[in-house]
Amino acid sequence: MPRISEITDIDFDGVNHPYVPPKELRISPKLKLHRDWETEVDPVTYEVVRHNLWQINEEHGATIQRLSGSPVAMYALDLNPSLLTEDAEFVYFGPYMQYMSGVTDTQVKWTLEFRSDNPGIQEGDMFLANDPWVGAAHQQDVMLLCPVFWEGELFCWVTNCLHQYDIGGITPGSFCPSAESVYDEGIMLPPIKIIEKGEIRRDIEAVYLRASRKPQLVALDFRAQMAGNATARDRVLELIRRYGPRTVKGVMKKIIDNSEKAYLAKMARIPDGYWQDRTYIEACRPGDRRTHRVQLQLRKEGNKLLFSNDGSAGQEGAMNATYSGWRGAIMVAVTELLCWDQYFAVGGALRHVDFDPTPGTLNCANFPASVSTAPIQSMEISLYPAYNVLSKMIYPDAEMRRDIMCIGGTSQWPATLFRGTDQWGERYGYLLIDPIGGAIGAFAHGDGINTGGQSRTPICQLPNIEHTEQSFPILFLYRKELPDSGGAGKYRGGLSAESCFIPHNTDFITQDTLSSGNATPTSPGMMGGYPSTTNAYTFLRDTDIASRMQQSRMIEDTSEVSGKPELLQLRQENFIQNPADVYAVRWTGGGGFGDPFERDPVDIERDLEDLAITPAAALSIYGAVLNADARTVDRAATAKHRAAVRAARVARHQLPAVKREGSVLYAASVALEVKRDEQGTFWACGHCSTELGAVGGNYKDACILEEHPVSASNPLIGEPSDFIDDKVVFRQFCCPGCGVQIDNEIAVAHDPVLCDIAIKA
């Protein structure tokens, strides 16, 4: 299938195909843009105005949070405020839900192109928008765009995006796991002028609220979004009055120019190359037992970065995302790994980043594919490979290496969509927010962060159990961090957790599942690191929990109750949870970094002390031989055991292994070097200098390949055949000379070995 850049006969206008903004926007002459700015702003004024613009965006976000007050805004922080130039380049983007960046500039650009003539863009207007083909992530993420005018000219934009509880569709909460197209999902609004000359258009607001099961909450959120924009707009105008429009605009442009400079300086330090990653979505509709491949390629040539999704599966069922969702997902990683030092001012970098996916794929779906689950499925699954390819890209630079982050927890969201009548006698329908607790993956210089949240929302917070129990008729039996849930590695991924609950003060709860990453780990490690646990649902029917409660014998693991285990599928619909049925949900943790055999015994001892790993995993995964106390590591025995395992690999395969000296050009990963001698440039083992082929080829082809069941990679990973028909394997690639593991990959058995790093010969 062709990529967007290869298609010439389709108009990417956001109707049947995704909107892809052209290089030059077609804006009606009716709309005058403010295009006059100071190019030489003195450093002091620059810093003062810059700080103010950042603060304005902060205050914008805080206003929405305070006004909305919904659990979505307060805990999941599923919102983001932005400040953009008149022509929709990012000045600042808030530290909230990072996905929303990629869906912001496209919607403003579309509005400039398609609304500037009719109905026109005027002072006092705001536009409501949530059409995923125009640029929303999914229908629930409703944007409100506010043009800011100065003396009749469009000066800049302030915008925000806020996830809504319910905007209609066949499932309460508007995540629709069994939808076959957008016609089964919530209301869809291409940008529409809902505020005109400062007044809400009541007719249009009524249309917007009509499809929702919770119109009052949506109305309240809409007011919060409006107030957020108004606050930011007024403060920008104040700033203009104080410093003049030319200066303020000059600072905006310079913020972008500076972020571009910072980006270019980084690019100059990194070698060119090509990186690729692969992962899978499971079950695109109820009853589906297939895996759906997701691939991401990154090519760096000089200053340019090009992302594509060649080889990704076709759109189908209810798992898809649109172009903007995919782009937004990748931008999260670009922002966090490359633009953090410019406080997420991603506008400058974007001048050099191209996105060229293939339409019709699951993460660049055409109309009318179902996309309501995008943020927790196709977008999430598109994001984390982007961390991997970018991390590998920056690894050669020792300083940028400190920015590397492995894939974090909740890399696919194991949703428990529930509904019924609550303890107050009212109807409810929502999902358990607990997986937002996530985990942060390992860094290239240290361990990840246990239940450190989801990296794509750097300041989210999990509700207290007492908050959730107040809102919903459930009783938590436990919520705990899980030993071994973090991916193993020289640096360990953060631990994830499991929540377990029963219905309480209600007769029953009607449940749907919606998940992926239960068979195939979606938080693999990096550069030899191992994956975290998979997602997991545990459901025990007719347990003895009631009598245990009676006898005051509570549990801290599902294994303690007796009951009939029931295997929940990943899109199981309308099943009933009675008060005697115990339900636990576990989410993925953070991936590990580097070979676990390289982990320092001191760190392993600390892990044992902190209950981060089990003694069994210390031996089987980390190769650490413990003393009789099962808390301390026998150093000598460990070194001997690790060496023996490596030697055995070499002996088993007896592949040709030639040491080849030469000068090291750079380290491509922890144990992989790019070297050069008179004969040319080649891959080499970073430990023993064994040559691993010429750089035109795949170094993995020269490695020992050992294939294990995927359960060998993490003690908490179960049996894939419970959910999918494909066999899933854990492939280790080891040096044929010394047996050290150079990398590993998780793959569906019939997929070929992945070429994860390539450089031109």
Partner: protein
Amino acid sequence: MASFLCGLDIGGTFTDCVLIDEHGQLTISKAPSTPGNFAEGVLEALKRAGERVGLALPQLLDSITMLNHGTTAGTNAIIQRKGARVGLITTRGHNDVIHIMRGSRGLSGQDIKLIVHIPESSKPDPIIPKRLIRGVSERVDCFGKVVVTLNEEEVRAAIQSLLDEGAEALAVCFLWSFLAPAHERRVKEIAAEMAPGLYVTCSHELAPKWGEYERTTAVALNAYIGPLTVGYLTDLDRRLKDLGYQPPLQITQCAGGTISVRKASDAPLLTLDSGPVSGVTGSLYLGQVMNEKNIITTDMGGTSFDVGVIHDSKAVVSYKSLVHQYEYFLPKVDVQTMGTGGGSKVWIDKTTGTLRVGPQSAGAVPGPICYSRGGTVPTTTDADVVLGYLDADNFAGGTMQLDRAGAAAALQVLADELGMSLYELASGVAQIAEFQMADLVRKATIQKGLDPRDFVLFAFGGAGPVHMAVTAREAGIKRVVVPQGDTASTWCAFGAASADTLHVNEQVSIMSSPFEVARINTLLGELAAKGRAQLEEDGIAPAQQRFLFSIDMRHRGQINEVEVELDGGTLKESDLDGLRARFVRRYEQLYGRGASLPGARLECVTFRVRASAESRKPRIKEAATTTREIPAGAQTGTRDIYWAEWKRLAPTPIYDGYRLQPGNTLEGPCVIETTTTSIVVHPGQTVSMDALKNFVIETGLTA
């Protein structure tokens, strides 16, 4: 015989003592703080104060009617991580609450750099390691109903195993215990049987609030600092008693009043951050004297800038606190802080070529270059001395020589890099710092629904008066008060001396509208009774007891709560409409007009009673006469100072702060020097000395 009020505050370097006699006369003394055994420094400061009023220590103590003391024992235990080894008992299945930390890194509202750059951040070290946490079977539900009885066998086994592991204190927090505290109480009883004398703290006593993470953090921290604080206070109390001090020693607390030694021993967490809070208390009192109802108090020192807000003669409080990334529940006077101070480092972002100030600080050591203590990175103080705001030859009353040349050389390097003059750069540094601080002032008010333009700003701290005239102007504030006399330098001790006895009692009980008046009244009545008993224990007569009632309310289904004040502790059926109206008014004041949803169901969440007793207040003496005539010799000379407003150096008059008289008014630009600070008055501003000898700057805003 004289009778005194006494305030004592332990700082990092000095322990301050303030005595106030019945005429309002102040006596100040200082003694070096004595880490390890702070009581030594406290007694020494008292002794020195006694010498000044001609009384030996026992006689002095005999004539003190109230001694209020701010302790840092708890804060130090946390900073130095020298707290007790704490065991935690919690609901089985929920051991990891304080490790999960609500899935966050505890950084919200903190350094934005750590938020955006995840690889630099981490969770804080746990106060209690997982191996010292025990879950026991028990359970209460959201209605406060016991659904699983307490398994006492498990409790005994848990306590024993924690003791075996060497636990020195015990924290207890069960889910929903604020609705049904019996299980926590029982654990405390069992612990008392098994380990008499063990320090035990229960969440329903310390922080009966909704949310197990913040409640567990509160008990964990409280137990962590408990044994040390108890040790210190008991020792000091005993030594004072031995020396003849009769009345109960009062300890200042973070909610803005004082508590008894016993309460401080049960809830040492209340003493955290009480120092800066005493500053706000002192401002509150001075504000009353000056008839100022709305005050922003600022304290700019070497490493930080603190902001507190007084609105309508009440300190603005928050109910959630943060220490070292740990969030916990406790009512506290809200003091917001940022890392801008005299020590903020000046640097250039190399990639983008832009000028930055902070957030890194050179601290006290090595400090600014001009202090000649080994600092090599220029700071805001270095810019101040280059600009001429500070006199290199007469700093701190002439006790310290500043290295202006060194400061200038370092700043010149940066100026060259940016193609600016030295003075342009230095004045840019000052402006950037001043504007950053103005942002915090804005935030501290606007986020509480208040408008900074309705406030006057009090400037404390050595660096504050140098910069606050501009900071205030940028935040839209018309007037800055630089409190003078000796009160300014011993502000926190003065605040401690003027603090009232205060007990804040809270109870969460979530109820939806339509409300039952009887239930509300019962709750408020119980809280008031608790407060009354506490005040009685403090020896406060009923006539002096004051009670303030409030309820935190919200829209049902939402998170944000607002505190709604009541007229009294007994509501009538007919008051309910008024209650809704008050909620809407307060909500819209905070969140904007039209923000509230008419007709939506409301919820009451937290019920609160503040029981207080007004203590005798110091009386500050006003000058009998004022004069416009500036005394000869008040102007000590002129100095060339760079003014950003004029973009040039200008000879500027310098005044000796001690020679000016009440009623004197000076036009800016000028600088007034005292031993502790320099008051910088910019062109277009004026400064005058009021009848209380405070300096008052008009910032030049007209509207």
